[in-house]
């Protein structure tokens, strides 16, 4: 062990207690040695600082690409919490004002509801008549006018219909049935002071079904894919990839599902930079990476290329291309159906049995 190694071992606490004590003694007696140790320590500290700087840069880069705000269910304002309080107070005041308005009117306007079929006695539904959606507070105000001259009938007070006072928001909701049923004309109730329905609840059943179908197709595709993916990382010292360090490195990344890191390396690999047989493997890796990242259209393109490069891989390329199309079946159904039929009709296609099963699944 030369002096440099010994100094480093001392600083990294790799010496035994006795060796460390002896070395400290030497240092105390020799100022030049002490200076050397100090320099080494500074050098190691600089190394740490460089590494730390790299980590921080990486974290900042990731933070910029994937904002933390997305992680929380609700956005949390980083500033002006008082604004939230003031808005809350205002909303409360408006609500109180609304309730008082209803209560104040009731004794005066409380008249028996006429048992009549005279439609002229009823107030027009101002909300529909104008053909234009009014803010909710305005529609409430329009439906609660001062008593109409010469008209014995007033708008039925739905809050009292059941003999029980309903909360304001419920009474408004009762007076707005058409609005709630038809989401295409639903005003942005979130902006109105008396919040009725969150917009997300107004998503139609049709849209939900569409989303569920999309997920189901992707699920069908992924289940079939994961059983037997086009590329399975095999860290094999004697394999096609082993002779190329860069490809072996990429293979390690894929082995640990680090697709985001592997993708740019795969994308920049050209036919000239690797052997032809390796380039075919690169196409499989690329298709696998795209597929795993949910970029099915790109995966399908890589598979097309694979089919052109290698006749031996044509059947594989077709099957996995089909899975890519099925993952986006809503958008690419005709293409997927055509390819499925091609596979089914081709004699001795290695994926015929799987294709039959897939067809049945899609029918369901």
């Amino acid at each position: 062990m030369d002096l440099d190694d010994k100094i480093e071992a001392y600083l990294l606490k790799k010496l035994s207690a006795a060796e460390a004590a002896a070395f400290a003694g030497q240092m105390a007696a020799d100022p030049a040695l002490k200076k050397q140790v100090q320099l080494h320590r500074l050098g190691l500290e600089i190394l740490e600082a460089v590494e730390e700087e790299d980590w921080r840069a990486k974290i900042k880069e990731w933070e910029a690409a994937s904002p933390s705000e997305d992680l929380l269910d609700e956005k949390i304002p980083s500033t002006l919490p008082w604004l939230k309080i003031v808005m809350g107070l205002l909303a409360g005041l408006l609500l109180l004002f609304g309730i008082n308005k209803f209560r104040g009117k009731s004794p005066v306007e409380e008249k028996p509801i006429p048992n009549t079929t005279d439609s002229t006695a009823l107030l027009p539904d101002t909300n529909k008549a104008s053909g234009k959606m009014l803010p909710l507070k305005d529609t409430v105000a329009l439906q609660q006018p001062a008593p109409v001259k010469g008209n014995t009938a007033t708008l039925p007070d739905t809050r009292k219909a059941s003999g029980k006072i309903l909360p304001l928001k419920d009474s408004v909701a009762l007076q707005q049935p058409a609005l709630i049923k038809d989401n295409t004309t639903l005003p942005d109730t979130n902006k109105a002071p008396g919040k009725i329905l969150p917009l997300k609840d107004a998503i139609t059943q049709k849209e939900q079904d569409k989303k569920a179908a999309l997920l189901a197709y992707a699920d069908v595709s992924q289940q079939a894919y994961d059983k037997d993916p086009i590329y399975q990382p095999v860290i094999d010292r004697n394999g096609v990839i082993s002779s190329n360090d860069e490809l072996r490195n990429i293979e390690r990344m894929l082995d640990s599902s680090w697709f985001e890191k592997a993708l740019p390396l795969l994308e920049k690999t050209t036919p000239e930079s690797v052997k032809p047989v390796q380039y075919i493997e690169v196409q499989k890796m690329l298709a696998h990476t795209y597929y795993k990242m949910g970029r099915y259209a790109n995966a399908a393109i890589a598979l097309d290329k694979l089919a052109q490069l290698s006749r031996a891989d044509k059947a594989d390329a077709e099957w996995y291309r089909l899975l890519c199309l099925v993952a986006e079946y809503n958008k690419r159904q005709p293409e997927a159906d055509a390819l499925l039929e091609t596979i089914l009709q081709e004699k001795n296609h290695p994926y015929q049995t799987k294709a039959i099963a897939l067809k049945q699944l899609l029918k369901r």
Binding site: D4, I46, L47, E51, R56, K58, S68, S78, W258
Partner: protein
Amino acid sequence: MKQHRKWTDEEILNTFYASVEGRERMLYYIFHESGWRKQVIKFVVENSGTMEDAKDIMQEALVGFLKSLTNGKYEGQGALQGYFFGIAKHKWHDELEKRKKRVKTNTLTDKNDVRQNNPSEDNADKRLLEEDRRKLLIEVVKKLGYERCLRLRLEAGAGATGEELARRFGFKDPDKVKKFKSDCWKSFLKELENFPDLENLLLEEFDGLIQWKKWT
């Protein structure tokens, strides 16, 4: 959000100690896939912090965690997630202390009184000084121009083989890597010795505790 497979503590540590890529991969896993980031952000935000505070604490906690792994401070004491979260909580506690102290400092005329009265509140100050020092050291590297040498040494320290280092740093012969590593380090230390502000950079050792001169 896409669900990722949870790594075991063993996988996390093995990936970290495998190579430089392994370190980055592990960092990526913790940041993006583990759910630890969400836990830290939620904690800070729910304990009177803002989103900006949460981001800072996440970064500090990650760096602290990685340092614990590199210098062997973590010796398997409990699950890694708990250990990491402990670091984050500690960092946030320090930050809150620093803020409290800042308020007190504004009300006192003699700043020294604060330090004398509250010696336990110096952690936050220490962190600031450490940050200053790190920036200063990076400046030194930039001035001296030994980045390649230092990176090679870092990668060697992270477990890269001679062949890997030769490929990455453009050496035809892996044997030359070893010689370069030793020679450039010696040369770097020599340059440091002649650095004009060396006295300000050197650390002092008192009773086994290493301290920065500026701090003492």
